[in-house]
Symmetry: C2
Subunit: 204 residues, 2 copies
DNA sequence: GTGGCTTTGTGAATGTGAGCACAAGCACAA
DNA sequence: TTGTGCTTGTGCTCACATTCACAAAGCCAC
């Protein structure tokens, strides 16, 4: 399949495959067919095959996909083969929950700094990280931090985003219930928990 | 526009409109045009008009949409006009962060119970709620709780989901990084923070 | 080898959503 | 009452995403 633009939806699913393959590797399974993988992830086999084929041939016909090397290739595609560092802004309850969340490491993602604007919190520790003042944003680029997570109230989110963008952050995960204005070369992904919960009553 | 199935994506955006309109009401604005609303939400005006028109005519040509009554009508469509109660499973860091999160109330959503399986936590308070044992799930239906949030480790999520479904919960917001098997009349929405962060390096 | 079984890779078809352009409609002023 | 300006509501078109169906390709047993 050549000269094909890769759908955003495909990219969105790739981390799913990475995590599933990492689990399979742990279980000692060497290969997996699109059917088995689809069963685990509640997807359709052709979708998985198509997704993977966008990046070239991964599998062996009659056998399936090699667990280890496929995981490695997807990680490389997503740039997750090198450790990616992120800064967390907001050391409130949600922020500290995220700071100690162990689920980022499968993807080679690491919360490498925590920033808050509350002077009483500066210097105290969350896990093995020390909470820093917002002025420390200036040092982010030098520390190789290019991703940011916003766990602040909606009113503060835009201001924090501006600071991070200024500091060279290229990707933002926004957990505040608001829109962000950023230069178009900065990618923003938003998670809005209340909105996600808010659609449920419609369906039930 | 008659005999039209309402797109899921439209439903997904509805809470966005509810929140924006609630804010406008607070600001004292009486009507808003699709253009103004689109500017706030970073959407296209025709998309907003189309979304709203799926449910009938809301606006006045030449003027725009009446803030208060439009908000009320959308709430009714989403069944957010009656208070909706939810049970939170998992009183860890993420769980307690969610428990005290004030952002649910715009939608008439309320965390009405917290459940954990850790005996040392039972009885202690988070906000004004007391942490209950998982056995208390049996009382959820009687208390009018039909929604559930899962803030537990991935290994525990399916078990908790089973318990909630058994207890009559009809909608689930899953925050654990895994798939859930539920009867098809139960709606599941999943939020996977690590996955959301994991796609960023690809784009930057 | 060769035949049979399994599974991939992919063009084509189908389904779903977004964006545009414009007619229809309302308010307000003259 | 009529004209002007603005905004909604919506059919149509295009783009994107999912699913299907099947040929191509590898493995294994004999």
């Amino acid at each position: 399949m050549k000269y094909h633009k890769i759908p955003d939806e495909t990219i969105r699913r790739m981390p799913l495959y990475v995590r599933a393959l990492a689990l399979l590797e742990q279980e000692g399974q060497e290969t997996i067919s699109s059917r088995q993988l689809a069963e685990r992830l509640r997807l359709n086999p052709p979708q998985i095959r198509k997704d993977l084929s966008y990046f070239g041939a991964f599998g062996t016909r009659g056998i399936g996909y090699p667990v280890i090397s496929t995981a490695r290739r997807i990680r490389a595609i997503l740039r997750l083969d090198v450790p990616q560092k992120a800064v967390l802004v907001g050391a409130g309850r949600l922020g500290t929950a995220i700071a100690v969340y162990p689920g980022f490491s499968v993807f080679g993602l690491e919360i490498a700094a925590i920033i808050d604007n509350n002077p009483t919190k500066i210097g105290s520790r969350v896990g093995r990280l020390e909470i820093e003042h917002i002025a420390a944003a200036a040092t982010l680029k030098a520390r190789g931090i290019r991703l940011g997570l916003l766990a602040v109230p909606a009113e503060a989110a835009q201001g924090c985003a501006d600071v991070l963008v200024q500091a060279g952050v290229k990707g933002l995960l926004n957990l505040a219930p608001c829109c962000l204005d950023v230069p178009k070369q900065v990618k923003v992904v938003s998670i809005d928990m209340a909105m996600a919960l808010g659609v449920l009553p419609y369906y039930v």
